[in-house]
C-alpha cells in the first residue's frame, strides 16, 4: 500500500484524487444548506412564510419560545419576525448608501488625486481598515461612540419624550450605521480602486482632449466604465453588512424595537434595534430550547438565502465587466 503511494502517481489517478478532494467543498456547502434548513423547518412548518411578516410582539414570542423549554407546544412556534428583518434592512441600507458614496469618492482620491506619497500610505491604510476584526469596531463603538452619543447628542427632553416606549442610551441605529459604514467601505474601495486602475488611460485622455476638465472626464468616462464594478462592490459589501453579528450585537442596544420615524427624525437615529444576525448572537445561550433554536436557525436560513442570492447577483454583474477586461 505504502509502496503504491510512494511511486510516482499516474496522471489519471492524480486527477481523480484531486477532483474527489475538491468535491468535498461542494459536499460541505450542500450539508450546510440541508442542516440549517432542517433545523429551521419547524418555524416554516408552523408559520409558513408569514413569519417574515409583522404581527404581535416578537419580544413576547421569543420569550415564549424560551419559556416553553424542551417540549414546546405548537403554539410556541408562532413567530412574526418583521422588526428584526426591518432592522437588518435599515442598517444595511443606510450603511450601504453612505458606504458607496464614500467609497467612490475616496477611490477617486486614491487613484487620481492623491499625491504619490499619500497614495503609498492610503492603500495599506485601507487594507488595514478592511482587516480590523469586527469585535474591535464593536469595542470602540460601545466604549467610545455610545457614551458620546448618549451623553452629548441625545438631550434629556428627547429621552423623556419617548420614555414610555423605549429607553435611549446611545446604543442604537446611529452608532450601528456609522460603525457598519466604516467596516464595509474599505471592502468596496479595494474593488473600485482595482477597477479604476484597469480602465485605459487613453479613454479619459480622449475626454480631456475634447475639453472636459480632468475631474469631469473622470466622472463621465471612467466612472461610467466601472459601473458594474461599483455594483459588484456594493453586492459584496451588502453580504458583509447583512451577516455582521457581533459588532451589531454590541452597539445596537439589543432591543426588539423597530426604529420609527413617527418619533421624529433625530430620535429615530438614536433608537435601539436588533438585526437577524445579532439576534442569533444575543440568544446563543437559549439555543437548547427547540422552539428558540428553530427560530434562530430560521434567521440563519434567511441570511444564507440572501447570501446565496447576492452571490448569484454578484456573478451576473461581473459578466459585463469582462468586456472591459476588468477583473473584479
Amino acid at each position: 500500500m505504502l509502496d503504491r503511494l510512494r511511486n510516482p502517481w499516474s496522471d489519471n489517478r492524480a486527477e481523480l484524487t484531486l477532483g474527489a478532494v475538491s468535491l468535498l467543498v461542494g459536499v460541505c456547502v450542500i450539508a450546510m444548506i440541508v442542516f440549517v434548513f432542517a433545523r429551521a423547518w419547524p418555524i416554516f412548518e408552523h408559520n409558513g412564510l408569514s413569519w417574515l411578516g409583522s404581527g404581535g410582539s416578537i419580544k413576547t414570542q421569543i420569550a415564549n419560545m424560551q419559556a416553553t423549554g424542551v417540549n414546546p407546544p405548537a403554539s410556541a412556534y408562532y413567530l412574526r419576525a418583521w422588526p428584526i428583518i426591518y432592522g437588518t434592512l435599515l442598517t444595511t441600507g443606510i450603511a450601504l448608501l453612505l458606504g458607496i458614496l464614500i467609497a467612490v469618492l475616496s477611490s477617486i482620491f486614491i487613484v487620481e488625486l492623491a499625491p504619490e506619497r499619500l497614495r503609498r500610505v492610503a492603500i495599506p491604510v485601507i487594507r488595514l481598515l478592511a482587516s480590523v476584526p469586527s469585535v474591535i469596531y464593536g469595542l470602540i463603538g460601545i466604549l467610545v461612540l455610545v457614551p458620546f452619543v448618549g451623553n452629548h447628542l441625545i438631550t434629556a427632553s428627547q429621552k423623556t419624550s419617548v420614555q414610555n416606549s423605549v429607553e435611549l442610551t446611545g446604543e442604537g441605529l446611529l452608532v450601528v450605521a456609522v460603525t457598519l459604514t466604516v467596516m464595509i467601505t474599505p471592502i468596496m474601495i479595494a474593488l473600485i480602486c482595482e477597477a479604476l486602475m484597469a480602465v485605459p488611460r487613453s479613454w479619459r485622455e480622449g475626454a480631456v482632449a475634447l475639453g472636459l476638465n480632468p475631474l469631469r472626464a473622470m466622472l463621465a468616462v471612467t466612472l461610467r466604465a466601472i459601473r458594474p464594478a461599483i455594483v459588484a462592490a456594493a453586492v459584496l459589501a451588502t453580504a458583509r453588512a447583512l451577516g455582521e453579528a457581533v459588532m451589531i450585537s454590541m452597539v445596537s442596544g439589543a432591543n426588539f424595537f423597530a426604529p420609527s420615524l413617527s418619533h421624529g427624525a433625530t430620535i429615530f437615529l438614536y433608537e435601539p434595534l436588533r438585526t437577524l444576525a445579532s439576534t442569533i448572537v444575543d440568544y446563543r445561550e437559549g439555543i437548547g430550547a427547540p422552539a428558540l433554536q428553530s427560530a434562530l436557525y430560521a434567521f440563519g436560513a434567511l441570511l444564507l438565502f440572501s447570501a446565496f442570492v447576492l452571490s448569484i447577483a454578484g456573478y451576473l454583474i461581473k459578466l459585463p465587466l469582462r468586456k472591459y477586461q476588468v477583473r473584479a
Binding site: 484531486l18 467543498v25 482620491f109 488625486l113 466604549l143 475631474l215 441570511l303
Partner: protein
C-alpha cells in the same frame, strides 16, 4: 532616414498636474465641490484608521501589563482580580493552527484541480461556486452549521459533553473546523490565481522533458506559486484570528480552557475555551465581564497581530511584484 518628414519642434511632455492646479479656480463650483468631497473622504478614511490604531494603542499600552500575557483568566469581582490573557492567546493560536491545517490541503488541492485539470468543466464550476458561496456565507451561519453537525452522534466524541451526557457540539475541534471554512476562500483564490498566472511555457517545458502533469505540478508549478500560497495563508490567518461569531457560538464560552476527557492533548481539543476576540466581547459592556480595561488590553494584542499580518501580506506582495512584475491593491478582501 526619411527626408520628407520635417523635424518637428519637440514639445515638452504634457504634464497634467501644473495645468490642473492653475485651472482649478476656473472649474464650475459643483466640480470643485466634488473634488473637495473626494479629498475629504479619502483623508477622512485615513484619519479614521489612524484614530483607531492610535486610540487602541494608547488604551492598550495603558492597560496591558506583560504579566497579563502569562496569567490565566480568573473569576473575580474587580478588574485587578480577573487574571490575564494566557488562555485566550492559546485559544487563538490553537484555532488558527487547526483551521489552517484543515483548510490548507483542501484549498490548495481544489485550486490545483480547478486550474490544472478542471474536467468536466461543469463540475469545476460547481466547486468554484461552492467556494464562492462559502466566501459569501456570514460567519454566524457557519457557526450555526458547526453547532448542528458537531451535535450529530457521529461527531459527538469530538466535542464537549454536559454532565448528563448531552452533546453541545462545542469544542476546539468544532470551532477549528468551521474556522477552516473561513480561511478556505482566500487561500483558494490566492493559489488559483497564482497558478493561472504561471506562464504556459513553464508547463510546456516540463512536459517536453517528459514529466507527467502531476510531477509538473509538484516540481514546477507549486514552487513557483509559493508566495501566492503564503499570501493566502496569511489572509486566512487574519480572517481566523479576527472572527468572533464562530468562537462565541461553537467554542463554548468558558474563559479558561476547559478540558474534556483524560487523554492529554486530545482533551484540550475536545474542550472549550476562549480566544482574544471572544475575550474582548465577553469583557466589553456587551458581555458579562464589564472589564473594559481587559477588553482594551486584549483588543490591543489582537490589533497588533492583525497589523503584523497586514505588513506580512504587503511584504510578500512586494517581493512577488518584484519577481513577477505584478502589483495592485488587490487581495484585500
Amino acid at each position: 532616414m526619411n527626408a520628407f518628414v520635417p523635424d518637428l519642434p519637440v514639445s515638452p511632455p504634457p504634464s497634467s498636474k501644473p495645468g490642473r492646479r492653475s485651472s482649478l479656480w476656473s472649474w464650475r463650483w459643483s466640480d470643485r465641490l466634488v473634488l473637495l468631497c473626494a479629498w475629504t473622504a479619502g483623508l477622512g478614511l485615513c484619519l479614521i484608521a489612524a484614530a483607531i490604531v492610535l486610540y487602541m494603542g494608547y488604551r492598550g499600552l495603558e492597560y496591558l501589563r506583560p504579566s497579563l500575557l502569562v496569567t490565566r483568566p480568573a473569576i473575580g469581582t474587580s478588574q485587578s482580580q480577573t487574571g490575564g490573557l494566557l488562555d485566550p492567546l492559546i485559544g487563538t493560536l490553537l484555532l488558527t493552527v487547526i483551521g489552517i491545517v484543515l483548510a490548507f490541503p483542501l484549498a490548495v488541492i481544489s485550486a490545483i484541480w480547478i486550474a490544472e485539470y478542471g474536467r468536466p468543466s461543469w463540475l469545476a464550476r460547481v466547486v468554484e461556486s461552492a467556494i464562492e458561496i462559502v466566501a459569501g456565507t456570514p460567519d454566524i451561519v457557519l457557526a450555526l452549521f458547526g453547532l448542528t453537525i458537531f451535535q450529530l452522534g457521529v461527531f459527538a466524541p469530538l466535542s464537549f459533553r454536559a454532565e448528563g451526557g448531552g452533546v453541545y457540539g462545542r469544542s476546539f475541534i468544532a470551532a477549528g473546523a468551521m474556522m477552516s471554512l473561513i480561511a478556505l476562500p482566500p487561500l483558494f483564490v490566492a493559489t488559483r490565481d497564482g497558478l493561472r498566472a504561471v506562464p504556459a511555457h513553464m508547463r510546456e517545458a516540463a512536459f517536453a522533458l517528459g514529466k507527467t502533469r502531476i510531477a509538473t505540478i509538484r516540481r514546477v508549478l507549486l514552487p513557483s506559486v509559493r508566495s501566492n500560497i503564503a499570501t493566502g495563508v496569511t489572509l486566512g490567518v487574519s480572517r481566523i484570528i479576527g472572527d468572533t461569531a464562530i468562537v462565541v457560538l461553537v467554542l463554548g464560552e468558558t474563559l479558561r480552557i476547559d478540558t474534556q476527557g483524560s487523554i492529554p492533548g486530545l482533551n484540550v481539543l475536545r474542550g472549550t475555551g476562549s480566544t482574544l476576540t471572544s475575550y474582548v466581547f465577553e469583557n466589553s459592556p456587551a458581555g458579562e465581564g464589564e472589564a473594559p480595561q481587559k477588553a482594551y488590553a486584549a483588543a490591543f494584542v489582537l490589533l497588533v497581530f492583525v497589523l503584523g499580518l497586514n505588513l506580512l501580506v504587503g511584504r510578500i506582495g512586494r517581493s512577488q511584484a518584484q519577481s513577477t512584475g505584478m502589483s495592485g491593491v488587490g487581495g484585500v478582501v
